[in-house]
């Protein structure tokens, strides 16, 4: 079974030979540090451990050219619309035709990053735009709905353009909306301003029979998940989470098997040592595996504060537990 078949079987509650093992995304600076801790020069982690390749098709979802001033009123939305042209060739990655040919014969997982989520779509990168957008939610809700509708129309048309050419294994909406203890906006606001705007994108994904639609979120967005599931998503990938709030076992218990899961292993355990890793994997992974529809993975990018020895232990134990 190749990686692609394995992922599809897992997400479809079928019979994979084992669960997919994705890499968490390890930067070169981490690898350099690990070399001083015993990683052999030139060693390839994907050869050291059973691994499944996952590629993310990243299209340019930003306004082109980038506007000098982000819109704050309905009058300025025409300018935004003009900058969000799905037919602009700059939207696609380099060597598109070559990639298309390669993807037709691929055996790895291909995910399409289809939407940047609420805050990034509204141009939030720092405090002044953040507070401006937050204010607009209350003072000019129509503007926010219109801006999100323009973004969604663009994302839907771009997704349609891509999906006519390549079959993907999952679509990913990235939604950095969680705060430390809760999402930054209420579930009611999220449904009204954000989820409702996603409908045209979700319709395109359904039309192209994309089976796995991933809600990739960060920190604590726990109370949004029921709305997200109801809104048409079927897979949660929670990153850099508050582990107590986003425990996948609780989420599964509450929302059932329709919600597939990627992640769920607290990255902090990898920092803390072998006992913490053992506890984390042995307690969390088996019950989720038993129900299926689950890809176990650390909940964030492995950073330089994770010792190489701990990472090796984590990968080996994960393999052992998931093959048991």
């Amino acid at each position: 079974m190749n990686s692609r078949e394995r992922f599809r079987q897992t997400m479809g509650y079928g019979k994979p030979d084992r669960v997919p093992y994705f890499e968490e995304g390890i930067r070169d600076d981490v690898l350099s540090r690990w070399r001083a801790q015993g990683l052999a020069p030139g060693a390839d982690l994907s050869q050291m451990f059973p691994s499944d390749q996952r590629e993310e098709l990243i299209v340019d979802l930003e306004p082109l050219p980038r506007p000098r001033k982000l819109p704050t009123s309905s009058l300025e939305l025409d300018g935004l619309r003009r900058r969000l042209d799905p037919d602009d060739p700059r939207r696609l990655p380099n060597r598109w035709a070559e990639s298309l040919r390669a993807w037709k014969a691929r055996d790895h997982v291909l995910m399409l990053r289809v939407h940047r989520g609420f805050f990034l779509s509204m141009g939030v990168a720092e405090w002044s735009r953040f507070s401006e957008v937050i204010r607009l939610l209350i003072t000019n809700p129509r503007f926010v709905r219109d801006a999100m509708a323009i973004q969604a129309d663009f994302a839907a048309r771009l997704a349609d353009r891509i999906l006519r050419e390549v079959e993907i294994d999952a679509a990913v909406f990235t939604e950095p909306i969680g705060g430390n203890d809760r999402p930054l906006i209420s579930p009611q606001m999220y449904e009204d301003f954000v989820l409702a705007s996603y409908e045209p994108v979700l319709a395109v994904l359904r039309r192209h029979r994309v089976e796995t639609i991933v809600f990739r979120t960060f920190a604590n967005s726990r109370i949004l998940i029921p709305s997200v599931l109801k809104g048409g998503f079927n897979c949660l990938w929670a990153c850099e989470v508050n582990v107590d709030a986003m425990d996948y076992r609780d989420i599964r218990r509450e929302l059932g098997r329709h919600l597939r899961l990627i992640g769920g292993i607290d990255l902090d355990a990898l920092r803390h040592g072998k006992e913490a890793i053992r506890r984390e994997i042995e307690e969390k992974v088996p019950p989720l595996l038993a129900e299926g529809g689950y890809v176990p993975l650390a909940d964030g990018r492995v950073r330089e504060d994770v010792p190489f020895e701990n990472y090796v232990y984590y990968r080996r134990l994960l393999e052992q537990v998931t093959r048991a």
Partner: protein
């Protein structure tokens, strides 16, 4: 005039009405300190309560804070110097190596609305700058934020520097990867998971 009307105007995020009601209360002879404490700060205490209970989120908190500040703008010239003595002075910033400012600014905003004088140092703040600015402004509290797990050691070093300096400043920490357990481990005096809770912690630290 009942202070409850001012509280209600703030909770309705109505800046114009808050200003009008504060002006009317002053015209009726209500003491400026009463309007401040029972009206504006009282409203923000209610905002904190609603946030803690999950009834308010960031938009509601921010809009209420702006209404409160509009009302305070009317009141400020009418308060005598002793009456505007802040609840305390807080030097706040995101630690060295970390550029994230949204959570930190929310805490700063809530502290200001609770009557604290806030010196916001921005992002990427070195330990010695926290200490120097705390001394310059005669602060009681140094509040620091981090979003990246990789900058947590810097937070720990900053707390240690503050303790070592012996200036007697209390330290308060927060941010996505920060927990009560971590705050205890690094020796911080206070921790809150959210901006509204930060006010309670700051009040407690300032009173010690």
């Amino acid at each position: 005039m009942a202070m409850q009307e001012i509280v209600d105007a703030v909770l309705a995020f109505d800046q114009a009405k808050t200003v009008r009601l504060v002006e009317a209360a002053l015209d009726h002879g209500t003491a400026a300190t009463t309007i401040l404490q029972d009206g504006l700060i009282g409203a923000m205490d209610e905002v904190g309560r609603r946030y803690s209970e999950g009834l308010f989120f960031v938009p509601e908190m921010l809009m209420a804070a702006e209404a409160m500040k509009a009302g305070f703008g009317v009141l400020r010239p009418r308060l005598s110097a002793p009456e505007v003595t802040p609840a305390g002075t807080v030097v706040i910033g995101t630690v060295k190596g970390d550029q994230h400012d949204i959570g930190k600014n929310l805490v700063a905003m809530m502290l200001e609305c609770a009557g604290f004088k806030v010196i916001n140092l921005g992002v990427d703040v070195a330990p010695n700058r926290f200490i120097a600015m705390a001394k310059r402004h005669d602060a009681q509290i140094i509040a620091m934020s981090a979003l990246l797990t990789t900058t947590l050691p810097v937070m720990q070093a900053t707390v240690a520097s503050v303790k070592r300096d012996g200036g007697g400043f209390k330290t308060m920490v927060g941010g996505a990867p920060v927990t009560q357990a971590l705050a205890d481990k690094i020796g911080a005096d206070g921790y809150s998971p959210d901006a509204a809770g930060g006010v309670t912690i700051a009040r407690d630290l300032a009173s010690r």
